[in-house]
């Protein structure tokens, strides 16, 4: 009997000891793919490129409370829009008060998002290198790679404008050695941006100019090239005329593609059916259910009108034009006309025959009729517009020609924008740089472009005199009284977190 038990016992133990331990301890994740084994199909490659677009949405991410998204942070810096509903977020108020500190979480978030996007670009460029034509056609591969190079250039372009010298990282992270990167100067960064965008342009040579899907196409690449050259011509590199010429050339290429046009009316800007076409070269893609936009709600009046004009009316008050900026528009400007870019009264949600006065102007540019009814907005948000390209063309030419130009192409470009605002006004014979810059302030307002324009031109728009003026020394209407722009306001501090982790980040 005992023998019997012993035999059972011992063989049992032998059995368990012999069980293969190594295979027992292997990990087999089923819910995610690993970059170590990727780029084995066209669908995988496309999914990786699609991922780059998701970083654009981060500007719709905020801190606690309504109306605290990153894109708003960028609108407070120029000082033409104010915040009717005071935020309790210290970090957001630093932008409102132009007093951005190194521990500001928005600054950190901008840095984080852009570098994460860049890392994905680097990783895809490396991963696609060895993809054979059996997996995808060369055209498909080039088009996808074109998008990737565009994205790397785009992200570095934003970073270098906001932070100045930054670490330039062009290969993917393999391990944690050498993570304390050195700063590259602005010259080197711009040169890389130029390279990336030119690469994208050449890869996309056979591609269409615009994409109804909302993907980056040749139109976006060359529009951005025009913008990059315009910026390189201005501050901080000040490369001057040759670069204005490049900006002009690329803007012209976009114009001559004849794929883009300005909409006839400002109401058309708001039509969902017009998204990804016409004036909209490149947009953040939204969806009422899967990728909502907070813009409509953020810009609603505050305090909420006694009779609601939109669903979810209590989330408004994040951004409105300052009265002074609103007043700077000519009274005959169609943008200022009710329900052009702005509105001061609106019909109530329940009864369109009842109109409520809002007591001050609010932004109507991004109003979403559907959202007003349903409480969900899926309206796209513009990143590059044709009117922007037209004004780049005009501005570049005025600079090339020494401050004013009578170049018909430049004037045509300028007039396409101007004419919509002032239909009764005739085409000018010549235009000055200041004319174009003023038009930029009025036309491309509250789209996340104004701050960049001010950084590259070091000019501000004086709302009282309605003249272009030096940025340094100007007290923008939304900033605290006496708080003028200083040199130190031009660049964001490096995020404190990054400085702690990388001591090389010293300007």
């Amino acid at each position: 009997m005992k023998k019997y038990i012993s035999i059972i016992g011992c063989s049992f133990v032998l059995l368990i000891l012999c069980a293969s331990c190594n295979s027992f301890l292997e990990e087999e994740p089923k819910t995610f793919l690993s970059p170590d084994f990727y780029f084995t199909s066209e669908a995988q490659a496309k999914a990786a490129v699609n991922g780059l677009y998701t970083f654009l949405d981060d500007r719709f991410v905020g801190t606690i409370g309504p109306g605290t998204q990153t894109y708003l942070f960028m609108e407070y810096l120029p000082g033409y829009g104010d915040r009717p509903y005071t935020s309790s977020s210290t970090d957001l108020n630093q932008a409102v008060n132009l007093n951005v500190k190194e521990d500001n979480l928005y600054v950190q978030a901008i840095w984080e998002t852009h570098y994460k996007a860049i890392e994905n670009c680097n990783s895809i460029i490396e991963g696609m290198k060895d993809v054979s034509s059996e997996i995808m056609s060369l055209d498909t591969k080039n088009n996808l790679l074109g998008e990737v190079y565009f994205f790397r250039g785009y992200n570095y372009f934003n970073l270098v404008r906001l932070f100045g010298p930054i670490p330039l990282k062009l290969s993917s992270t393999k391990d944690l050695s050498n993570v304390q990167l050195k700063l590259s100067n602005e010259e080197a960064v711009y040169s890389q941006i130029e390279n990336d965008l030119l690469t994208a342009d050449s890869l996309m040579v056979n591609n269409v100019w615009n994409s109804s899907e909302g993907r980056v196409a040749k139109g976006a690449v060359e529009s951005l090239l025009a913008k990059v050259y315009l910026t390189m011509a201005g501050f901080p590199l000040q490369k001057g005329v040759p670069y204005y010429q490049k900006a002009y050339n690329y803007a012209q290429k976009v114009i001559l593609s004849n794929k883009f046009y300005v909409f006839d009316s400002y109401a058309d800007l708001r039509k969902i059916s017009n998204e990804n076409s016409g004036e909209y070269i490149w947009m953040i893609q939204c969806h009422s259910q899967y990728a909502g936009s907070p813009v409509h709600f953020n810009l609603l009046p505050y305090p909420e009108p006694t009779q609601p004009i939109s669903s979810a009316g209590s989330y408004g008050g994040a951004l409105a034009p300052t009265q002074a900026f609103y007043d700077s528009y000519s009274s005959s400007d169609m943008r200022k006309a009710e329900k052009g870019y702005y509105y001061t009264r609106h019909e109530t949600l329940k009864d369109p025959s009842i109109i409520v006065e809002l007591g001050r102007p609010y932004i109507y540019k991004f109003w979403d009729d559907d959202a007003a009814k349903t409480g969900n907005s899926g309206k796209n948000y513009p990143l590059l517009t044709y009117s922007d390209v037209l004004l780049i063309c005009a501005e570049a030419k005025t600079e090339i020609d020494g401050g004013s130009t009578s170049d018909s192409k430049a004037i045509d470009a300028y007039f396409k924008v101007r004419n919509r605002a002032f239909p009764d006004e005739g085409k000018p014979v010549s235009i000055t740089t200041d004319d174009v810059l003023k038009e930029r302030f009025w036309e491309i307002c509250f789209e996340g472009q104004t701050w960049y324009d001010m950084l590259r031109t070091r000019k501000a728009f004086n709302v009282t005199t309605r003249e272009i003026t030096d940025m340094i020394g100007y007290n923008a209407p939304a900033h605290p009284e006496g708080h003028i722009f200083k040199e130190s306001d031009l660049l964001f501090p490096y995020p404190l977190r990054e400085k702690r982790l990388n001591p090389n980040l010293v300007r």
């Binding site: 005992k2 038990i5 012993s6 016992g9 049992f12 133990v13 368990i16 027992f24 301890l25 990990e27 994740p29 089923k30 819910t31 995610f32 793919l33 690993s34 970059p35 170590d36 990727y38 995988q44 496309k46 999914a47 990786a48 991922g51 998701t54 606690i64 309790s88 210290t90 630093q94 007093n99 500190k101 190194e102 521990d103 570098y115 994460k116 890392e119 990783s123 670490p167 990282k169 992270t173 391990d175 944690l176 993570v179 304390q180 909302g214 993907r215 990804n276 893609q285 939204c286 969806h287 899967y290 990728a291 209590s314 989330y315 409480g375 969900n376 899926g378 990054e498 702690r500 982790l501």
Partner: protein, 1141 residues
Amino acid sequence: MKKYIIKRLSSHDKFHQTMKIMRITSFFLFLNVLFIQAGTSFSQEAKLTINLRSTTIKEACRQIERQSSYIFVFSDNIENALNKKINIEANSRNIKEVCDDIFSMSGLSYKILDKQVVVYAENAKNAESIVAKTAIFQQAQSKTITGRIVDEKGDPIIGASIIEIGTTNGTISDMDGKFSLNVKDDAVIRVSYVGYLVQEINTKGKKNFDVILKESPKALDEVVVVGYGTITKKDLSSSVSSLKSDQLVDRTSAFNILQGMAGKVAGVQNVTFSGKPGGASSLRIRGMGSINADSNPIYVLDGVVGVDPQIINPENVESIDILKDAAATAMYGAKGANGVVIITTKSGKKDKGTVVYNGKVGVGFLNRKLDLLNADEFMEVQKRAYAYSGKIMPQLLTPMENLFYYSKDASGNYLRDKNGYLIASPKYDTDWQEAVTQNALINDHNLSFSSGNEKTSVYANISYQDFQGLVKETYSKRYSGTINVQSDIKKWLNIQAILTTGSQKQNDMEGGFGQGPVRNMIEMPPIVPVKYEDGTWGRKNDFPLGEPAENPIRLLQEQKKIGDQNFSIFNLVSTIKFNEKLQLTVKGDMQTTNSRSISYAKAGLLDVSETNNGYADISNGISQKWSNEDYFTYNNSFFDKQLQSNFVLGASWYYNHYESSSSGSENFFDDYFEYYNLGAGTTFHKPSSGMTQNTMNSFYFRMNHNLKDKYLLGLTLRMDGASNFGENNKYGFFPSISAGWRISEEDFFREAKNIINNLKLRGSYGEVGNASIPNYTTISSYYNNSTVFNKTLEPYVVLSNLGNKDLKWETSAQLDLGLDMGFLNNRIEFLIDFYNKSTKDLLFSKQVPFTTGYSTTWTNLGEIANKGFEFTLSSKNITNRNFNWSSDLVFSSNKLVVVDVNGETIDTGNGTIAREGEEWASYYVYNRLGTWGLNEISEAAVYGKKPGDLKYEDVNKDGIINDNDKKIMGNGLPKGDLTFINTFSYKGFSLMIDLNYRYGAKILGITTTMMENRQIYGNSLHSVLDAWTPEHQNTMIAAIRLPSDVNFGENEKDSRMIYNGDFLRIRNIMLTYDFSPKTLGKINFIKGLTLALNVENAHVFTSYPGFDPEIGFLSTDNGQGIDFYSYPRPTTVSTNLKITF
């Protein structure tokens, strides 16, 4: 029962005699069982058949006792010889022949006197006298007393010895605990039983006695469960603390064992994050052993490793043993780094059967309210804010009839003051704390059954708990059942099967910062009513500038955040005995948990469901775990029994699998459906699912040696392999060693032994691992989801984790030195331990520069050290027949210091940092000096500040207030924790008072400070009235301004938020009355009846102005001491009824 009378006696032998009789008692227990089972008696000439191999002499004697009516009595000092192993084969032989066989070569001799076999040392000089002293004889006395001996629960004590003091006349209680004895008229009897306090009773004038024996806590022969076996306390050389069932259930709000354990064991901290029902709490054994990986100890339920402690009903727990030092926890290797809590549940008792009902009914209420502004004070604050800004309050310009009464003339026209403003006074003065909280009812009912015979025993329990929360609509409920069967199926095979199953459910509306009812309760303006006259709900932003927030009561009524869970644990342990020395345990267990969390809101809740017409989300999780453990146990003695050794060798396999899925929808056309019909919504949330699994494989070896009962040595080796480590580091090796010296057993100590009966010095060193990191961290991964292109979904991936293939075990090395002392026969017991636990290669999700493309990666980093000191003192101050007073003092102190983090400053979240040489998660904040005065305009301007703004210390004097000006100002971990429990009992009454004092922790009162500097957004603390004004400049609180006038955010974490977290809590007061069997008298089917009245959390003495100084945030270690709209803790009054049948 048998009666024995000693023929001759000498007084100094009295004590030894008693001991001997007690020793015999255990044999009687078996005899009794046997007699009752067999129902036969044996003649003196009975023939014995015995066939035993490798058994002790003692056991052989025991076998004979079972077969015959002979009883063996042993003389002193032959214990070692009795433990000698022998082989015996006897077929139908008489007692003398068998005894000759047994005692030959044993060094023992025997003598048969009637039915007694007296055994003594062969070489004894004075054999006759020894035999005479040892044997027990009966003698006629003048009266017969009878009685019954029961324990505190009313269960009979079988085999208790009853001795007439001054004689060695005595007897032993029977199966029903009854006894009868002939004694002298004025005899005093002593009643004793192993593990119980001795009682002396004067029998003068009485003949019938009901004796209740109280358990003597922590006797030296108490068995401690150490994992993969047990050990007697005296043989323990590592640091292990034990708790018994009674100590776990005296706390009314103890929904689970964690809450029941609070403060009862030195070195074990119960970290409470919330006062919500069911609590959010966890245990920390000797500080925080890990910083990023899990710091929770591992819970072992009847051998099942890794059980969720929240589902264990305290009522079913027999004992809890907490393994604290590395020598004890090394047996659990990679899972033991944070300590091990071994839970042993109740099993059936081998008796006639017991039914116990134990129930509690109670009510909890809010005992501390925040000192908030009332309506008039709130308006005063508003007035000041508008005055500072030179603006007029809106209700003075436009009538706001819903909130204010306005002065009107007879014809109904508004009256105006001399400035032309309306004259308004608030309509409502709502006490929101009153409105949102409730008297929380507590129901806890348990019914247990226990029974057993010689071969099989059964324990079964069914229970129901329903705990309401202090905040309305919140609750925690649990139904559970357990069954525990043990059986000797074969002579060589014992099995134990335990099944625990049940479900629990809670509505957890804690919420934190967002739309949490607790936050809204505090911040709702008092001038807003719960509901207006027309039935609409009041909202925070009904008053201009108020923050948009929903009515908390509406939130509670119309929003649900339900978590529910069905769980079951099945455990089958089979023990195969090869022989008396070697056995194999094969254990298999399965744990399955189906959990669900539901988030639901009706349409129209501001900031919750206003825009989506109501929503419902359901997520499901299925967790499946199984494990297999197989281990050999070998016990033997060597060197002539001088060395007793125990060996364990085994292997384990663990498998965990988890799957989840979720779905949801919104835009319901009717609230009727709640979350029961997701298809009724018209907009569907994206479904999701997931899976994760991990495995672990271990081999272990342990040996414990006891040399001469004086020198103890233990050695443990364990090797663990875990799937979640990198290819190159799958296995880790964890050794430990411990030693003990029982000084009190040394010859030289003999003199002192009357006073110090136990003195043991212990020491241990060992290494234990930690593998509690998420799965798949060593694999680089993409996050994938879908994104939109022109309103169409497309898949995408983005990089999410940078795999670290070199990731390895976190190892903690612990040195422990301890001293156990017992005075006056353990009337006073004293335990002290010093430890130094240093954790290296910390598994840490380290921040990396964003330029890498990642935020954090898992890495092995640096070192932290927990150093601490703990002691336990138990004393029976007064013990006499009617009145007893005992005190227990438990003290622990621990300091967690960062030893090495590569010289970096690590952000540990919520304004806390870790830096070398400092304590972990230290508050790193600005120093608020006060406010800028009118005479400091220019100094203030340097910092962009104005008079009335907050003044922070510019530490580096660079004219900028930034991160470099922050200072370390304490942390949330207490330096020391003291529990002082006094128990007084008088006859059936017993009063327990449990005090808890904690010191050294600082509180980061984010709530309280926000309640002082966001005056316009909602209600404020009363202290805000102390704010800066030109007339009152010497203050810590900034001027009350409109938000538009606060130029620079003043919501920084600063020294004003740091509060002293010391407190003294009257944790528990319990008054119990035990009905004696005599009182119960004729209702003899009731064996015991206990009634108790309990006040829990009776009072807290603290200077902290928040709800409770014992607080935490986000249920993380780094959140300890951070008060962020925490759920208040109730004072609970309850009654308890326990009936035993």
